[in-house]
Symmetry: C2
Subunit: 135 residues, 2 copies
Amino acid sequence: MSPAGAGRRTPRRTRQRQAVADLLAAHPGFISAQRVHSLLAEGGIEVGLATVYRCLAQMVAGGELDTIVAESAEVLYRRCSADHHHHLVCRRCGTTVEVHDPQVESWADGVARAHGFADVNHRVEVMGVCRACAL
Amino acid sequence: MSPAGAGRRTPRRTRQRQAVADLLAAHPGFISAQRVHSLLAEGGIEVGLATVYRCLAQMVAGGELDTIVAESAEVLYRRCSADHHHHLVCRRCGTTVEVHDPQVESWADGVARAHGFADVNHRVEVMGVCRACAL
DNA sequence: ACGTACATGAGAACCATTATCAGTTACCTC
DNA sequence: GAGGTAACTGATAATGGTTCTCATGTACGT
Ligand SMILES: [Mn+2]
Ligand SMILES: [Mn+2]
Ligand SMILES: [Zn+2]
Ligand SMILES: [Zn+2]
């Protein structure tokens, strides 16, 4: 029988997957699947929309990407560091700062424990206008 | 001419608006518009789905309701206190605790200021399993 | 080079939400 | 209490992001 971690083999190297990965590696802020699709198209790289969604989902599953939900309820993706952190996002240009801060982690755990909640996780986003966009 | 706060007159008292308001007043956790609609229908109270959405939107605008976005990306509504706070939500039963804590407020502002961001707001949710649901 | 399991993509399906618009009604005025 | 009107309602269509379908294509181990 196969080893414990079966089913998790290396994904195929395809033109499409590479194009999506490259675009996200180069893009500094959060970006939607639809926008990834049209940016690729503008660059002359045809990738089906369904494939864009599939690639993004796989990269999220693999921990390569973080996601946030925009006010319009569309999902935005960004290449992020692997360890737990939160985001400070410019709502004008999308510039994003990763925030690694144990302070807010212990705060969240403390709040949950104080009310007897178990199996806790949290979602923290800070949004504002970055220095460059404020002029 | 009309006074400064023109256009904000009292909404009409209708059977439908009352039904939606009553349901949210009685409901302890967050709930979706679709679920409001079907709960009313189950109770024999016919209210059009469009009207449910309209009433909820108006109550949000009036500060009577808070909203969060579920993982499924659908919007959930809850009757909440007027002042700024965050939520500790049981992901099993939806039971919700309002968290008023200046600690996380100043943390968010501090993080933003440290990176030169202005006009800051934030989104903070803590999710877990409440004592009752943990058995 | 072959075979096949995996990947692709055009289009349909899905689903929450919003827009239309003709008919209804709360409520102000007389 | 009757009338007028702006607000409200709801069946239905439209929207838009996301997922599904399935016939076709292809990366890669052999
Ligand atoms: Mn955290
Ligand atoms: Mn806060
Ligand atoms: Zn900016
Ligand atoms: Zn619970």
